[in-house]
Subunit: 184 residues, 2 copies
């Protein structure tokens, strides 16, 4: 199962693709932080990020998209931009028939480091360890996108955004994971 | 100049198209409130609204899009959905080369009713009056979308979202309005 993890943001949007084969076996396929200039109009910034996202979808053809769930934060302006980017990501996934799963930042930290309040460097360290990389991917948004994808791999049966339904791919994944646990 | 006004929302998204010919001459072209079921996954809801938006863009071919600027409100969940829809709208406009202008709710109320704190029925009443309709468009989201389009018509020289630049269409409009004022 190939998973695209997305850490949405207007200034930097992390895009990380992994392959997950069997329980806990994950491999790095691609990672980048797409950017858009802060001085540009928001519609142009969204189009630039959407172009980068669609290039990754075209080139790496993931089976599922995992996205950070946007919450209210101190900086309202940042939240709005993040929500706008997440809308663009969800629409692109939906139009390609890809299931979208949402994870909160603390779910991702807990899954990857065992601590829902882990600091950013700890997340980067664990992402590198899990994927067998010499060092944490940079910038942090790239590492975060991979952490989100890893979270989805490890929670394979997660329901798509806002729904209790699971796709056939997710069911197959959950079955494979259960079978692997029985063997292991 | 043909203007699409959008009152963004996940449950109901107002889409109102007007023609603005010369200063203060506006005419209704189309109005609807696109909807998406609250129980559906967010990606599917965004796709449904995007389909409705794109149908309006294809059929009525506006020269500009005017969109309500999203602010933090009491209900964070609603704001997130609204921001996601606004991201989808901005991207669709940008990809068609249409300028996007943003107006706050109070700017719209002030432009249409003369009172930045006007109640919804007052906005609907003035939209009907300005467009020569027998009664206010319903639901309120439809009337609000038209109010946003009217605001853009009356502030013709408004800069696109997040930029000081004006398009050639906006410059032509501003010149026409100035010329009209000189004549009138």
């Amino acid at each position: 199962m190939r998973i695209l993890g997305v850490d949405p943001g207007l200034t930097r949007c992390g895009l990380g693709v992994i392959d997950a084969a069997g329980a806990r076996q994950v491999r790095l396929v691609h990672v980048e932080a797409a950017t858009s200039p802060a001085g540009d109009p928001v519609p142009a910034r969204l189009a630039r990020l959407a172009d980068a996202l669609e290039a990754v979808l075209d080139q790496h053809r993931p089976d599922a998209v995992a996205l950070e769930r946007v919450f209210a934060q101190a900086n309202v302006r940042t939240v709005m931009g993040t929500a706008q980017v997440s809308g663009v990501v969800m629409l692109a996934a939906e139009r390609r028939g890809l299931p979208v799963a949402l994870y909160t930042p603390s779910e991702v930290k807990a899954a990857v480091t065992g601590d829902g309040r882990a600091a950013k460097p700890q997340v980067g360290y664990m992402v590198a360890r899990v994927l067998g990389l010499a060092e944490p991917p940079r910038p942090a948004d790239a590492a975060d996108a991979l952490a989100i994808a890893i979270t989805h791999a490890w929670k394979g049966g997660a329901a798509p955004a806002g729904s209790a339904a699971t796709t056939s791919a997710q069911r197959r994944w959950a079955e494979a994971e259960r079978a692997s646990r029985r063997r292991g």
